[in-house]
């Protein structure tokens, strides 16, 4: 059996709380430049385009 990957944080127990500098641990991961809400809106628009194309196809 392959050993599972572990991290020191995994061994801190279930009652572990982040200290003040760990609160921004997630911000070390960079996000895409595009505004997240704009990209979500564009994805939904792409979905509408997909449904519209199928509607056109089915109407013959």
């Amino acid at each position: 059996m392959e050993p599972a990957k572990t991290d020191p944080q995994d061994h801190k127990g279930e009652s572990y709380r982040y200290d003040s500098h760990e609160l921004d641990l997630m911000d070390r991961v960079e996000l895409p430049r595009m505004n997240p809400w704009l990209s979500l809106a564009l994805l939904v628009l792409a979905g509408f385009a997909y449904v519209w194309i199928w509607g056109v196809l089915l109407r013959g």
Binding site: E14, R17, L23, L31
Partner: protein, 473 residues
């Protein structure tokens, strides 16, 4: 339907394969609880991708969405399409950041940022949703099985529960990832074949001319923009807090693998999600508007397909439902084990004890879900009942925690927003105005989620500003 004779060898071969994968995973991959919950964080991008897709594709979507499409037309796409589009978005904005926290469950995230009270509240709301979803999927699987085997719903629930529980019990997330990938291909082949044969058997596109309503094939369908927007918002908000899917990202071997897995899985399922609406539209054209929503898929399967193809589709239904059921069962088992047992009951349990308790919880969750479906069998509404509550409470908070650092410093606002958002949905579910109670869904005058999400987001924004201003001054 009585004339249909499924190919038993195909069904038995499929079930033996799932069982075999469970044994393989138990013998070679599972040694501790983390292997059961997140596959030891060692999975590659394609296994994640197919597993994400298989989790979004289930019996409820096949049977339920084709039934909804019979009444609402192509716009029924949004009852599932919004979930998978949100999955693509999460591959960029949410999953990479959640991986940085090294959590296994979402309630764990709440304790690390805010403490045990937040963990318990988020846990309750997540379990409420996930148990509803598990019960809904188990029910759709039981409906099909009882039709094929001509057995009672109770016997059917016991059978499908047992079949799924065996490999989850043995191999946990490892078995789920591998079986999901296989199940995805079976579902795709079966469902696409049903659409193709439906068109061929009914004389092509001309059959659709029998549908007189011009809105039926339009972007907003017969439900109109308000109904479609409700589906879009409910799908997006549920996905942000959908732990079964999030755990796929946590099971990846690296952040890049998690991102690619979610992206590919999201794209694959976005394309596939047009299949159930097409089945529903064809069903309406072939059998008329009076056919019951929950009969559309089965009538198409037994009527249009039949023979060997019908058997492949039946196996596809089994595969679709099992691939979602296994995931939600495993997720709730991880909550029971990590968030309740390890956290509050026995923090010093040995790794071996944790592993076996996890397996026992798998069985417990399966039995609970079957019991819930048996007493409350309204299929998709069951799926969405807990979903609305979670979608207006935990989900917007998780998205805000990931994207906005100030929210991570506003414990009172976060707790208040979750409780208030859930309360608004529950109150509206009880007091809100229902337009129509169908066989598959309840149609609301204004969907509860359209009230709940803006309320929670507003509360979160104002409360965070107020709470963090006060701290900084």
């Amino acid at each position: 339907m009585e004339e249909f004779q499924p190919s038993w060898w195909l069904i038995v071969t499929y079930l033996l394969l799932m069982f075999g994968i469970g044994i393989w995973a138990a013998r070679t991959r599972v040694g501790r609880m983390e292997d059961m919950a997140v596959a030891g964080r060692s999975s590659g991008p394609w296994l994640i991708a197919f597993s994400v897709a298989a989790t979004w594709i289930n019996g409820t979507t096949l049977i339920g969405i084709s039934g909804v499409a019979k009444d609402f037309g192509l716009s029924a796409y949004w009852t599932g399409g919004s979930f998978v589009l949100a999955t693509i978005w999460m591959s960029y904005y949410v999953v990479p950041r959640l991986r940085a926290t090294r959590i296994i469950t979402v309630p764990q995230l709440f304790e690390r940022f805010y403490g045990p009270r937040h963990r318990l509240v988020s846990l309750s709301l997540i379990i409420l949703r996930d148990l509803g979803a598990t019960a809904g999927v188990m029910g759709s699987l039981a409906v099909v099985t009882s039709s094929i085997l001509n057995i009672s719903l109770l016997q059917s629930l016991a059978l499908v529960g047992a079949l799924t529980l065996v490999y989850v019990f043995l191999g946990g997330m490892w078995a789920i990832l591998v079986t999901d990938a296989i199940q995805f291909f079976i579902v795709s082949i079966g469902s696409v074949a049903l659409v193709v044969f439906g068109f061929l058997g009914s004389g092509g596109f001309s059959v659709l001319q029998s549908i007189e309503d011009p809105e039926f094939l339009g972007s907003f369908g017969t439900g109109g923009p308000s109904q479609v927007m409700a589906w879009v918002i409910i799908g997006i908000s549920i996905t942000f807090g959908y732990q079964s899917v999030i755990q796929r990202g946590l099971a990846a071997s690296s952040t890049a693998a998690a991102h690619k897995g979610f992206l590919y899985g999201g794209i694959i399922s976005t394309i596939w999600y047009m299949v159930p609406p097409l089945i529903g539209v064809l069903g309406r054209a072939l059998y008329g508007a009076d056919i019951s929503g929950d009969d559309v898929f089965l009538r198409m399967t037994f009527g249009v397909a039949g023979g060997q193809l019908g058997s492949i589709i039946i196996v596809g239904i089994l595969a679709a439902s099992m691939s979602t059921l296994d995931s939600t069962i495993n997720t709730i088992a991880s909550n029971f084990t990590i968030d309740i047992y390890n956290r509050f009951l026995n923090p010093n349990a040995s790794p071996r004890k944790q592993l076996w308790l996890y397996r026992l919880n798998v069985i417990l969750v399966g039995v609970l879900a079957a019991a819930i479906y048996y007493v409350f069998p309204l299929m998709i509404e069951l799926f969405w009942l807990g979903g609305r509550i979670m979608g207006a409470s935990v989900a917007p908070v998780v998205a805000a925690m990931v994207l906005f650092p100030r929210v991570r410093r506003a414990p009172k606002t976060v707790l208040g927003s979750m409780l208030a958002g859930a309360s608004v949905i529950i109150l509206y579910q009880v007091l809100g105005s229902v337009q129509e109670v169908g066989t598959i869904v309840v149609v609301w005058t204004i969907d509860p989620i359209l009230i709940g999400v803006p309320f929670t987001v507003s509360l979160l924004a104002i409360g965070t500003w107020w709470e963090t201003q006060r701290h900084s001054s």
